[in-house]
């Protein structure tokens, strides 16, 4: 489905990586590894279409993602280093609104359940501002529970999470893969996601 060929990323005057080739099919899990500053985040942003590769192509179902644009956005969910939650809104509002913006309106009940499952029960209507670092990250991750996209692009989703939450995320990822989803992920922590096919891409 997603096919990357000859990708090169140039930052400043340095080429972070070049000749990156891979493809991901339904049910496949890909982990991008590499030390700090090796270009993992840069790669993931290219996969989303947020930045342009210096060279090479990214195709989704055979079409260049640049040409697909909004259609492609319907099939991906990207979670980056930033949480993308509003400090002044509650977890519930944040989840409903960000889902709606991703083209997927959900009702209150569904949102409640997702937050509950992420371990935020009882904190749904507090402003996100007062939550702890890990709790905010959980609000962001709750989006994964309600979205209906196939390709997930996750940039260090495990940061700030405690071990219980890491287990939880792992099981969410596994469920997604079972249903035929695709995941591209980076992390510096240890995680073992059971998948039919696990690919690893080492940068630098």
């Amino acid at each position: 489905m997603l096919k990357v060929s000859d990708l090169e990323c140039v930052r400043g005057e340095r080429s972070l990586f070049k000749d990156v080739n891979f493809s991901i099919e339904a049910g496949e899990f890909m982990q991008v590894n590499g030390p700090n500053g090796s270009g993992k985040t840069s790669l993931l942003r290219m996969l989303c279409g947020l930045s342009m590769p210096a060279h090479g192509e990214i195709r989704w179902c055979g079409n260049a993602i640049r040409s697909l644009d909004e259609e492609y956005h319907n099939s991906i969910t990207y979670l980056g280093h930033l949480n993308g939650v509003k400090d002044n809104l509650s977890a519930l509002e944040n989840l409903r609104i960000s889902s709606a913006l991703a083209g997927n309106e959900i009702d209150e009940n569904k949102a409640y359940n997702a937050l509950q499952r992420m371990g935020l029960g009882g904190r749904e209507i507090l402003p996100v501002k007062i939550l702890s670092q890990g709790q905010r990250r959980r609000v962001t991750l709750a989006r994964l529970l309600v979205c209906s996209t196939v390709l997930w692009i996750l940039d260090e989703p495990l940061v700030a999470l405690d071990s219980a939450a890491v287990m939880l995320v792992q099981s969410i990822l596994e469920q997604h893969l079972e249903k035929g989803g695709m995941i591209v992920m980076t992390t510096h922590q240890d995680i073992n996601v059971a998948a039919v096919v696990t690919k690893r891409l080492q940068l630098n």
């Binding site: 259609e71 930033l82 993308g84 939650v85 002044n88 809104l89 913006l101 083209g103």
Partner: protein, 219 residues
């Protein structure tokens, strides 16, 4: 979807109930500052009034521009919006509209009362309100372009004013001109219809330009 954007922005504004009110009070205070700087002579104040009210409206609208995208940018929400399956220009239109509802509409409502402080005639007060009603949405729309261009740059708040103020000037001239004409006993309809034309033009062009600017800023 478009509605969600507006609704979200209004929600954010309401969450801090003070938010809408503060823009309003900023407007009121700036308008009241001028007599303090200039002195209390009635005639001079009266002839200054349209200009002062319009400049204050411009500043009030401009001041809150920075917030239009930057908080969404800093916390990553804007990234998510760019990845949303809707056309970006629609999103931008939604945000500009929300901005107008929060900052423009209150000004339109309060301006006539402030006009009284300057002893404007009833006719002139009416024209003032109408000109603001037509003009403030243009300010929000043009402002959206500036806000999008300066996104993530340090000193964005001041830079945006630098970019946007020159574009605001036609609105200012015809807006204040309409009121002056009417307080000089002339008809203001020419001025007002020009303002209307600006509004239509910016409704068509601004969202598109701002969306393009956003894409560039976020890369």
């Amino acid at each position: 979807m478009f509605l969600w954007v507006i609704q979200r922005d209004l929600l954010l504004a309401m969450r801090q109930r003070a938010d809408v009110l503060t823009t309003l009070f900023f407007f009121i205070i700036v308008v009241s500052l001028f007599p303090l700087g200039v002195g209390p002579e009635i005639n001079m104040l009266r002839s200054m009034a349209p200009g002062v009210v319009w400049v204050a409206a411009l500043l009030a609208s401009m001041l809150s521009l920075e917030r239009m995208f930057s908080s969404d940018y800093l916390d990553g929400t804007l990234e998510q919006m760019l990845l949303s399956p809707q056309p970006l220009s629609l999103l931008v239109l939604g945000k500009a509209l929300a901005h107008w509802l929060v900052t423009g509409v209150p000004l339109v409502l309060i301006a006539p009362i402030l006009g009284i402080q300057f002893n404007l005639s009833t006719d002139a007060l009416l024209i003032l309100a109408v000109s603001l009603l037509l003009g403030t949405p243009v300010l929000s729309l043009i402002g959206a372009i500036g806000a999008a261009l300066t996104l993530g740059l340090r000193g964005g708040g001041v830079l945006v004013s630098l970019l946007v103020l020159p574009l605001y000037i036609p609105v200012l001239i015809f807006g204040a001109g309409a009121v002056e004409a009417s307080s000089a006993g002339l008809v203001a309809s020419a001025h007002l219809s020009l303002l209307g034309a600006f509004l239509l033009a910016s409704l068509v062009l601004a969202p598109w330009a701002a969306a393009a600017a956003l894409r560039i800023s976020i890369e």
